[in-house]
Symmetry: C2
Subunit: 297 residues, 2 copies
């Protein structure tokens, strides 16, 4: 496994590649300035860029240079960003802060935030379709992303989240199911799409899909734990906001200790799934899985 | 040109094909029931299904059987429907009625309406990607749709609409520009995508694009006129709501008579663009352009 400092360096480098790409991705297009500003405001609000980095890295592990998948991978960050903008809306989670800054509808207005989300989502598909890679591979990867982001994936998970928030009880299997849709599907698809673009075999795709699914569970549990134990400055939003909002979380259901064990367990599942791969990119993905559960923010 | 009754019969038949396809398009997918109900509520709320019919018909004119483009064409109606659901939200046009029924956020709730819109948009891309036609053609058509629906198309037009609504003055060229984005781009793309799926030449695509663009202008002017002259029962929403909301319209800017002349003029431009095509499908599209400006609802 790659040493942690080197993994973090690569994660930061690749995150910056994505950020630079996104910073100019609307240039030259006739988009109303206020809408463009609103989309860029949320795109440039920071974050680890984990989803595009996963896409870039599985593609690289399967033989494709980073530059070849950069537009497609960056589009995944646009989908992730749109989901945050809509989730923060008053009718949804009603969050005024996102990563320590006013959320989109606070910095602009509610109508613009709705449209910025719609624009980011739609333009993400445009960016993916314009990938210069082989059309059959691109089309398959776009479909994979749409499935993961849509009503039986991320959007459906958010609906379940709204339905269960504040309600009395939830079983562990239900919580897992919601998170598999809400955050797991897009993380998994980010991994799978990179490999699809590189023309990976069905066997490789299955292994990378298992990696992404387990990573997604580990990531969500770690997120839930951070909401309880991190400090507000590190987290960029008030600590304990999940509890205040009546959100269903792993620590609330299992306690901190069992949640930590489950996250570590899933990181091991993720790592085991990549057993057939070797080389620096595989080493990076193994270290990333470990980091997912041990990160401080 | 095809006689009006035959054109209307075909329009109804094709609209029903789309409606039937959409009625079962979520079957077997693990979508939260409330979200599925909300998406279907708006999908089954009626309408002429003009955009998918245009897609089916340009594809047919270029040699493709209707059944081959039905899923792709139906997905365009999902994109149109999502835009209506989001436009009706309290933070946007705040419309309680849509086609004579409570709008989505009134029938369900605001969070579900936002998510239903997001789900319809994302699932539309899934449905398009799953088209069994040749991947290079499908990918190109999906990109065309994304461009038309995104921040430099429909979403951008809606942002302009919000910015200009209630403001003092607007020039005719500005109004044309807004509508070209807000309604024109998707209507044009509906026409172009059908032809793309059928493998039409660049020359044919340009002609069909001109038809779609002119049809889009004619359609929007006719819509604005109907808001002034139709009765509430026919329109399914209060007559004159554009004026009440301070919307910028052609009749407000040019008066009814000049608006009617401009619409008729654009219908003629649309028909002229198809000069190189012949046969029943071309006849149908000519009659449809004429109908667009002379319809009663």
């Amino acid at each position: 496994m790659m040493p942690v400092p080197r993994m973090k360096e690569l994660l930061r480098e690749r995150g910056q590649m994505v950020e630079s790409y996104l910073a100019t991705c609307f240039d030259g297009r006739p988009i109303p300035q206020r809408l463009k500003d609103s989309m860029q405001y949320s795109l440039q609000a920071g974050g680890k860029r984990l989803r595009p980095v996963l896409c870039l890295s599985t593609a690289a592990m399967c033989g494709l240079p980073l530059q070849d998948t950069l537009p497609f991978a960056s589009a995944i960050e646009m989908i992730h960003t749109y989901s945050l903008v809509h989730d923060d809306l008053p009718a949804m989670d009603d969050d005024d802060l996102r990563r320590g800054k006013p959320s989109n509808h606070k910095a602009f207005d509610e109508a613009t935030a709705i449209l910025a989300g719609d624009g980011l989502l739609t333009d993400a598909f445009l960016m993916m379709c314009r990938s210069p890679l082989a059309p059959p591979r691109v089309l398959r990867a776009v479909g994979e992303l749409a499935l993961a982001a849509g009503s039986s994936g991320m959007v459906g998970g958010q609906e379940w989240d709204m339905i269960f928030t504040g309600k009395a009880d939830i079983a562990l299997e239900e919580l897992k199911g919601i998170h598999a849709m809400k955050t797991g599907a897009l993380l998994r698809a980010s991994c799978v799409c990179g490999a699809m673009l590189a023309g990976a075999s069905d066997e490789e795709l299955a292994a990378i899909g298992s990696y992404g699914a387990a990573l997604g569970v580990a990531f969500q549990i770690a997120d839930d734990i951070l909401d309880v134990v991190a400090d507000t400055a590190t987290l960029g939003k008030p600590v304990g906001s999940d509890v205040v909002q009546g959100k269903k979380t792993y620590p609330a259901l299992l306690g901190l200790e069992k949640s930590r064990a489950l996250a570590q367990d899933q990181a091991e599942v993720a790592k085991a799934a990549l057993a057939a791969f070797s080389g620096p990119e595989a080493e990076f993905l193994l270290a990333l899985a470990e980091y997912t559960v041990n990160r401080a923010a």
